[in-house]
């Protein structure tokens, strides 16, 4: 026996032997559990196979199923005789092992009767491919209480990018896992020097849960701190967070519409001038790029007209000599121009009939109520109001939870478009931008087409090279555009609906795990990454940051700083670079 084998034999207690009554294959085999030992799901085990004239093959795997049965019983009712103490029977447990690694790569089955040991230390790391990961992000602990890692190469775009998280809302803790993953990426040191400049953009769609990322969690106890320490992470809130919220409805001063977080929230909006100049009109419509819709032609014609003719005027815009001071004014103006026979040609082109114009007008008028608070002509243009992650804090939280559906889509679409275009111009993948977006099925549904979906598809397909990493979450991956799901290198599943779990989108889960996701506890996720053939079951620790107002501890001092104070008081009001004196 060679020396390193002896070392292998010393590590890991023997827990059983490979079964000979079921087929042992290189990829899956059964192990009889020795009396006095146990194996639970997700335990990592290792066995050895001696080969003539070659070095022995180490076969490592994880437990994907465990069963116990009475041997010696023939009938179901025999269990009573056995429990009564009259029929001798043996309780025998067996565990199904799914191979994760064969080293060296010789695909031979383990021999029945071979000792199976619990893998610990380096053996466990090797079995789960952690030893091959140059950069590894801790993502929680496995069922055995030891850290489980994610290969950062598949997160930062080096070999793959994007994360897709699925699970029932409320139980699956999708957003909590997404924020923990972000925290781990930023704080574990895997990004090295890039961590300082890496940014995250988080859309908060539900409650005010994510508005307290920079507040310590008052319910954090020593046990949780210790769990963070095991993962090599400090148990602290996010250090650098900026929160944006939409302006309050019908409030002319534009104060942010939040109820629980009072300090350190900035409002975001778009001025009418920006709306016209940046051609944001298509984002008002959910299906503006759908080829089946006639009115999309009008959308693009009007967008182009506005971009060409609208002039900034005292907060609002002036167009053809009319000053428009609010979004409803703009809508009314556009609708009036389009219904007028004389001006329709210049606004929408000559080939458009009344029915199409009416379809456009109907949708545009409907948007007045939802978007009036976001597209403003009454607030100072020089007041900082744009969401720009490059100039913002490390983590930018955009609160959408108070907004109606259409407004949420508008904000997400426009913000992502701006960020993506900025990254496109920069042309380099570094620094990375992580985008956390829940309810992806709403923004990128499987059916139909829209400008927002196009942006998300762009991110999914080209974001990897541009350093934009999408961490998308949804209740049902089957309702999300397939190209976005397939482009995600890392797939995460929390508690799933039984009907959903049987869909082909979750084909990466082995049969036993498909059953297990139906009863996954909050905080338990199944993570599939390209490196490891079996999804890992991880439990991530309780957040060290507050997830609701009641948990929030002392607010950090930075939040007291208002964004208004950070604005440059000497900037030229409404200054446009082309207006400057040319010398």
């Amino acid at each position: 026996m060679v020396h390193d084998e002896a070392v292998v034999d010393e590590t890991g207690e023997a827990v059983g032997r490979v079964l000979g009554t079921a087929d042992a294959t290189p990829l899956q085999f059964w192990t009889a559990v020795a009396p006095g030992s146990y194996l639970q799901l997700d335990d990592v085990v290792v066995t050895k196979r001696e080969l003539p004239g070659r070095e022995p093959v180490t076969i490592a795997g994880v437990v994907t199923q465990v069963r116990a049965r009475h041997e010696g019983a023939q009938f179901d009712s025999d269990v009573f005789a056995i429990a009564d103490g009259t029929l001798p029977a043996l309780v025998q447990e067996a565990a199904e092992i799914t191979t994760t690694r064969i080293d060296p790569e010789l695909y031979v089955p383990p021999s029945p009767g071979a000792l199976v040991r619990r893998a610990t230390g380096d053996l466990r790391a090797a079995a789960l491919h952690f030893d091959r990961m140059e950069k590894r992000v801790p993502m929680g602990t496995g069922r055995d209480g030891l850290p489980a890692y994610l290969n950062a190469d598949f997160l930062d775009g080096s070999r793959g990018a994007h994360v897709s998280i699925s699970g029932i809302s409320g139980v699956a803790t999708k957003t909590s896992f997404a924020t923990f993953l972000l925290y781990s990426v930023f704080r574990s040191g895997v990004l090295g020097g890039d961590a300082i400049n890496a940014k995250a953009l988080i859309f908060n769609v539900k409650g005010e849960d994510l508005l307290f990322l920079d507040h310590p969690n008052a319910r954090l106890d020593d046990a949780t701190t210790a769990r963070y320490a095991e993962l090599g992470l400090p148990a602290t809130p996010f250090p650098d967070v900026r929160v944006y919220a939409p302006p309050r409805a019908k409030d002319s001063s534009g104060t942010p519409d939040v109820s629980s977080r009072l300090a350190g929230v900035d409002s975001f909006y778009w001025t009418l001038a920006e709306f016209c100049e940046s051609r944001l009109l298509p984002y008002v419509f959910a299906d503006a790029d759908d080829e089946r819709q006639q009115y999309t032609m009008v959308v693009h014609a009007v967008t182009a007209h506005l971009a060409r003719h609208a002039q900034p005027a005292d907060g609002g815009i002036g167009i053809d000599g009319t000053r428009l001071g609010s979004y409803p004014d703009l809508v009314d103006y556009v609708v009036a121009r389009l219904t007028d026979e004389e001006t329709r040609g210049t606004w929408a082109g000559s080939a458009v009939n009344t029915g199409t114009v009416n379809a456009f007008a109907r949708r545009l008028i409907a948007s007045k109520k939802d978007l009036a608070r976001l597209i403003r002509g009454d607030l100072a243009a020089r007041r900082p109001h744009a969401i720009n992650t490059a100039e913002s804090a490390q983590v930018t939280v955009v609160d959408l939870h108070n907004l109606p559906d259409r407004a949420q889509r508008f904000v997400v679409g426009v913000t992502l478009k701006a960020e993506f275009e900025r990254k496109e111009k920069a042309g380099s993948a570094k620094p990375l931008l992580f985008v956390v977006l829940d309810e992806l099925n709403k923004y990128a549904p499987r059916e139909g087409s829209s400008p927002i979906k196009e942006v998300l598809l762009d991110i999914a397909e080209r974001g990897r090279s541009l350093g934009v990493i999408l961490i998308g979450a949804q209740q049902t991956a089957s309702e999300v555009e397939r190209r976005i799901v397939t482009n995600s290198a890392i797939r995460v599943v929390g508690r799933l609906d039984p009907a959903e779990a049987s869909r082909p989108e979750y084909g990466f889960l082995p049969a036993a795990q498909r059953q297990r996701v139906l009863l996954a506890k909050p905080g338990t996720m199944f993570v599939s990454q390209p490196d490891i053939p079996v999804p890992l079951c991880v439990e991530f620790p309780f957040p060290a940051w507050a997830t609701r107002p009641s948990e929030a501890g002392q607010a950090p001092s930075a939040t007291l700083r208002s964004i208004v104070q950070s604005a440059d008081p000497f900037a030229v009001v409404g200054g446009r670079s082309e207006d400057e004196i040319p010398f």
Binding site: D78, A83, G85, T86, L90
Partner: protein, 316 residues
């Protein structure tokens, strides 16, 4: 009108008794029936109140199987038949207080039974069949019976290993050479000999489940104290579910009665049901489980047969 009863034992095991309505061959053994109650006053007996089954019951049994029949070719041209047999004995420890039945010990042995004076051990694959010389002419039909001796020896050996104080050892079959073991009863499933006179046999057939006959003494060479009892789950035929239990003749009548009462509260709870066991109810549940385990320990018969064939082919 004559009533008919289907025998609960599967046909391949023979009947629980041989003959029409009871043990067929009248025994010539001397019996004494007056020890517990007067012969004239024989009646079914139920266990007195307060008799509780022991916490631990040990049941011993053995199984045997013929793996192959061989024939030798001696130097002088003569030929002897040989029987390669595997046999195993085991003991089940039924801890009724704890509700756990476990295999307390099992031993497997293999031997080649033959009268051939020259043949050596047969090594078939990984197993060895030790030669067991049989005296006499060694016809094949007699060889089968000669397995019983070593098997009983194995049973005695194994049953001694699991004893604890206050337990009860139930031996499958007559006690024979095991009479010296303490607190031991022999359990006879099939009734071949008619020991009792017809008048007293009527008391036996009148037994109801959980009842026994009075203790009587058997005067044979292997005799001792004995009694009949009926197990629950019998078909209702006169002799169905009737077993004979015996204990050592070295005991006093009081000790024998005590064992008889103990057996009456212990054995019926082990009785098997007909759809699970072809020899119900006499084949006790622990014994059936033990036999299954022991048969498993004997190894795969096809594998052994092939190994024997290979081994003998190599020898010639």
């Amino acid at each position: 009108m004559t009533r008919l009863y289907m025998d609960t034992w599967a046909a391949s095991y023979g009947a629980a008794f041989q003959g029409g309505d009871g043990p067929s061959s009248p025994s010539t053994a001397k019996i004494e029936t007056h020890h517990e109650v007067d012969t004239e006053a024989w009646h079914p007996i139920v266990a007195p109140e307060g008799v509780r089954p022991p916490d631990v019951v040990l049941l011993v049994d053995g199984v045997q199987r013929v793996d192959g029949t061989l024939s030798t070719e001696e130097d002088d041209g003569a030929s002897f038949p040989g029987l390669a047999a595997s046999y195993a004995a085991g003991v089940v420890r039924c801890d009724l207080a704890r509700g756990a039945a476990e295999l307390a010990g099992a031993q497997v042995a293999r031997a080649l039974f033959t009268a051939s004076p020259s043949v050596g051990d047969v090594i078939a694959g990984q197993v060895r069949y030790a030669v067991h010389k049989v005296s006499g002419s060694g016809e094949l039909s007699k060889l089968q019976g000669s397995v019983q001796g070593p098997l009983t020896a194995l049973e005695v050996e194994i049953s001694a290993t699991a004893r604890t104080d206050g337990d009860l050892l139930v031996v499958d079959g007559p006690l024979r050479g095991r009479r010296h073991l303490p607190r031991t009863i022999g359990y006879v499933k099939t009734q071949q000999s008619q020991y009792l006179p017809p008048a007293l046999a009527l008391v036996v057939t009148a037994l109801r489940p959980w009842q026994r006959s009075p203790v009587f003494a058997l005067g044979t060479a292997w005799g001792g104290w004995s009694w009949y009892m009926r197990l629950p789950g019998s078909s209702g035929a006169p002799w169905s579910g009737i077993v004979r239990v015996e204990c050592s003749p070295d005991l006093s009548i009081e000790q024998a009665v005590e064992l008889a009462n103990l057996s009456l509260v212990t054995l019926p709870r082990f009785a098997s049901t007909s759809y699970k066991d072809p020899r119900a109810p006499q084949n006790l549940i622990p014994i059936a489980g033990l036999e299954r385990r022991l048969r498993g320990l004997l190894g795969d018969p096809r594998l052994l047969h092939r190994a024997l064939t290979l081994a003998t082919a190599r020898l010639t």
